[in-house]
Amino acid sequence: MADGQFVIIDGNELSFEEGETLLQVAARADIEIPTLCYDERLSPAGACRMCLVEVEGSRLMQPACSFKATGGMVVRTQTPKVERNRRFLLSLHMADTEQDRERAEDANPSRIFDLADVHGTAGCFPKVEQKRSGRPQDVNKFIEFRPERCINCSLCTRYCEQIEAVSAITLAGRGAETTISTADAKSLTDTTCELCGGCVAVCPTGAMTEKPALAYGKPEKELEKIRTTCNFCGVGCQLDLNVDREANRIVKATSPPPGTTVNDGSLCVKGRFANDFVHHEERLTSPLIRQEDGSFREASWDEALDRVVSGLQGIADRHGEDALAFISSSRCTGEENYLFQKLSRAAFRTHNVHQCAAT
């Protein structure tokens, strides 16, 4: 903290570090300033204007996301003028995207409506004529861009450039035709895109959305989120499985908010999109026992478990317990690995237990 350096926000004297923005200082004091295009991991764009606040001595309102605090600055975040701007902007964004909440949130939740719940709107404006183009020919299976819902906040392009660092998508076109596109409007699969879906995670309006979930057709708000740990590599990303409880089905995976877990709001293509296997038709659903002729038949758990136990015991009796080997998996849980080595060491008295950590 700079010595004796304070700003006054809504009457609160707050200390700050050199270079901090008003938004950062306010957030530390739990003063909420609404934003649509801000993400703490990204450089501010100042595009959505939702965070405009009054700064004493400044004729115009200033964007809190990029306006730096300086000593003695007096800031007001909840004046009638500030609130009027917020309501006006929200009406404008709705006119530019979608004015019916149910339609707006047919897949992903919309922050525009969340903010409207808090700040209200300035009424229904005439619909803005749609000029942004999409990429309907994009053949990738995971990420859909719906241009009519885009507000050009550039969260997706900044995420792609600054966090995933592949710069596959970019703002393209000019003026009202500005849209999100790729080089030569190619399919994402033909660009540097790694299909991480970070663009979907940061999108405040649902313009970027998950194709498989869109096809499934149930809004995210009606799904139950179960926090769990990804089952692929060793990073241990936390993710929320979005479950349609009635259908016993995982519809999609979403990333927890930035700053809350080890993955800081990100997921990779596997964590976000590779859960199809859970409901795959080839899942094993019944114990199987090999028959004399070499083929398998379905069996009851009782029969299969007895066959396993008598088989293992028979070998232990004939050849000794060290003729058994137990190979577990780093894909299974800690508790299961504990039980597995206990099975080996306590039930069959052998230390022949290992897993793929050998490589």
Binding site: K141, Q162, L195, R227, T228, T229, N231, F232, C233, G234, V235, C237, I250, P256, T261, V262, F273, A274, D276, E282, R283, L284, T285, P287, L288, G294, F296, W301, L305, V308, G311, H319, D322, A323, A325, I327, S328, S330, R331, C332, T333, E335, E336, N337, Y338, L339, F340, Q341, K342, L343, R345, A346, A347, R349, H351, H354, Q355, C356, A358, T359
Partner: protein, 545 residues
């Protein structure tokens, strides 16, 4: 990892070696990208021009298997230029002199001949590494999957110790764990040498403790590790219980493994899919996947986190813990009537001091999980290790000399094959190839070949070719790419139709037994799509349900 994933973004120097981080650990790579964007220096040592080399300050494109030469030469620069941390060496380590003596025989100019990395680059990287306080080493299987894997790790840890990059935030020695719970499986004692919590199985006191806890006298016979098991399948070993592991895809020299599996008296496979190993099974038990059960995974930075049941398993499939409990009960080893994995975790924690302060209850309360060691219920997470001095008392320097890989290129097999992972698939691809989107992005196996080698062999991009080693022959599409060095080829191992591991050698590291997946001698034979494929010599019991 001695350090934590979130520390990476604050590092000032990253030495990434034998890790294709953007593909194998994408989210850790994002942290590295953030560090570089902030101004951190990045040195990559890898035979391939992996993505990270695009943003690296240095790419040391070494010959596969020449790591000890490179790392010892870096140490040479550090000791001859007086860049070592004398105070740390004096206070916290032992045996430095033997390493000093050894690395003096590895001057950068000689190293250039063996590794192909310019001497001046070796010097620059060594100076930058030694001269930066927050300098971390990040490595993966490119270091360990060699017959000299242990030597490579020692050579790296010598660098860490001589520069005092230990017990410091954003520094340290960081093996990036390849699987969701590989750390947790070891933590839980699924390894022949350790009981849960790294308590030695060769220590009679430890065995006594577990004999009492479990009510069964513990065997004093040493156990076999996975690589040793593979070598005595069907001979010393007669019964095999596989839980969630498809050895027929993942083990090196897989032709021999398949042959041996035919000589087993009992093979039990417990899995979520009918995998390749199921072809040799006598009994198959259907298991629940991660989304269908409760428990914990422990990630690469020792972080224990919850896994939660989201949906019910299909049909009659059951969670692995439920199956195992049944089997123990039926084997005559009566188990507590576990109703939930939280009770199993509590039993393990009561027997393993490193985790004794961890419980499901605590994990549920903290979305960031708990990093062990956590020895009491109110102890905090351990962000990085060795903060209060080296854990074993003194950091032990281990002098290592270069040894060549098990196989080198020769006139008959003039190329060097390395294998690895891609972003879009995962290991045996049991899960990922069942995703339409992923399979669409990367539908089949490929072999990367340098343009000059391709031209010399008359092979074109996209053409089919047989990759042949002393152990097998597989057909794959050719991807002509400058990603590989001349003389080197590279293949992923995810595709069951292209058994890459029929090619790899099971010659193992002397200490760990880990197979040398990263180096074997190979040749390429161009083929057309029409030419019949010669099946590699492995036994097929190809019986489908």
């Amino acid at each position: 990892m001695t350090n934590s994933i979130p520390e990476i973004r604050d590092a000032d120097f990253l030495f990434v070696t034998g890790s294709n981080t953007t593909e194998a650990h994408p989210i850790i790579a994002m942290e590295m990208k953030r560090a570089v964007a902030r101004g951190a220096k990045l040195a990559v040592s890898d035979p391939r021009a992996i993505w990270l080399t695009e943003i690296a300050d240095w790419h040391m494109q070494l010959k596969p298997g020449s790591d000890v030469w490179l790392l010892n030469a870096m140490a040479h620069v550090i000791v001859t230029e007086g860049l070592e941390d004398r105070e740390f060496i004096e206070r916290a380590t032992e045996n430095f002199d033997s390493v000093r003596e050894t690395v003096l025989r590895y001057p950068p100019e000689e190293a250039e001949k063996h590794t192909g990395v310019p001497a001046e680059m070796i010097r620059e990287v060594a100076r930058a590494y030694a001269g930066t306080k927050k300098a971390g080493i990040y490595y993966t299987l490119g270091i360990t999957e060699h017959t000299t894997g242990t030597d490579n790790v020692y050579a790296l840890s010598n660098l860490v110790l001589m520069t005092g990059h230990l017990g410091v935030r954003s520094a340290g020695m960081n093996p990036l764990r390849g699987q969701n719970n590989v750390q947790g499986a070891n933590d839980a004692g699924a390894t022949p040498v350790f009981y849960p919590g790294y308590q030695s199985a060769s220590d009679p006191d430890v065995r006594d403790k577990f004999s009492k806890a479990w009510g069964v006298e513990q065997s004093s016979n040493p156990g076999l590790n996975l690589n040793q098991m593979m070598k005595v399948l069907g001979t010393d070993l007669k019964g095999l219980y596989l839980m969630g592991e498809d050895i027929v895809i993942s083990e090196p020299n897989v032709g021999r493994v398949e042959e041996a599996l035919n000589h087993m008296e009992l093979v039990v496979v417990q899995d979520i899919f009918f995998n390749e190993s199921c072809r040799f099974a006598d009994v198959i038990l259907p298991a629940a996947c991660y989304a269908e059960k409760d428990g914990v995974f422990t990630n690469s930075d020792r972080r224990v986190q919850r896994v939660r049941k989201a949906v019910d398993p299909p049909g009659n499939a059951r969670a692995d813990w439920q199956i195992l409990k049944e089997i123990m009960d039926r084997s005559g080893l009566e188990q507590p009537d576990y109703q939930h994995p939280a009770e199993i975790y509590a039993e393990m924690a009561s027997l393993a001091p490193k985790f004794s302060g961890i419980s499901h209850e605590r994990l549920n309360a903290d979305p960031k999980g708990l990093q062990w060691p956590v020895e009491t219920p109110d102890a905090p997470s351990t962000e990085y290790l060795h903060k209060n001095g080296v854990a074993r008392g003194k950091g032990l320097f281990q002098a290592v000399d270069y040894r060549p890989p098990f196989e080198s290129a020769d006139p008959e097999y003039p190329l060097v094959l390395s294998t690895g992972r891609t972003l879009y698939h995962y290991n045996a691809a049991t899960q990922t190839r069942r995703s339409e989107g992923l399979s669409g992005k990367q539908p089949e196996c490929f072999v990367e070949v340098h343009p000059r080698d391709a031209r010399r062999l008359g092979i074109e991009d996209g053409q089919m070719a047989d990759v042949v080693t002393r152990r097998g022959r597989v057909r794959s599409r050719v991807m002509v790419s400058r990603q590989v060095r001349r003389g080197a080829i590279w293949m992923p191992f995810h595709f069951p139709d292209t058994k890459t591991n029929a090619l790899t050698t099971d010659a193992g590291d002397a200490v760990t037994g880990t197979g040398e997946y990263k180096v074997c001698a190979a040749r390429l034979e161009p083929r057309t799509e029409e030419q019949p494929e010669q099946v590699f010599p492995g036994a097929y019991a190809a019986i489908r349900v």
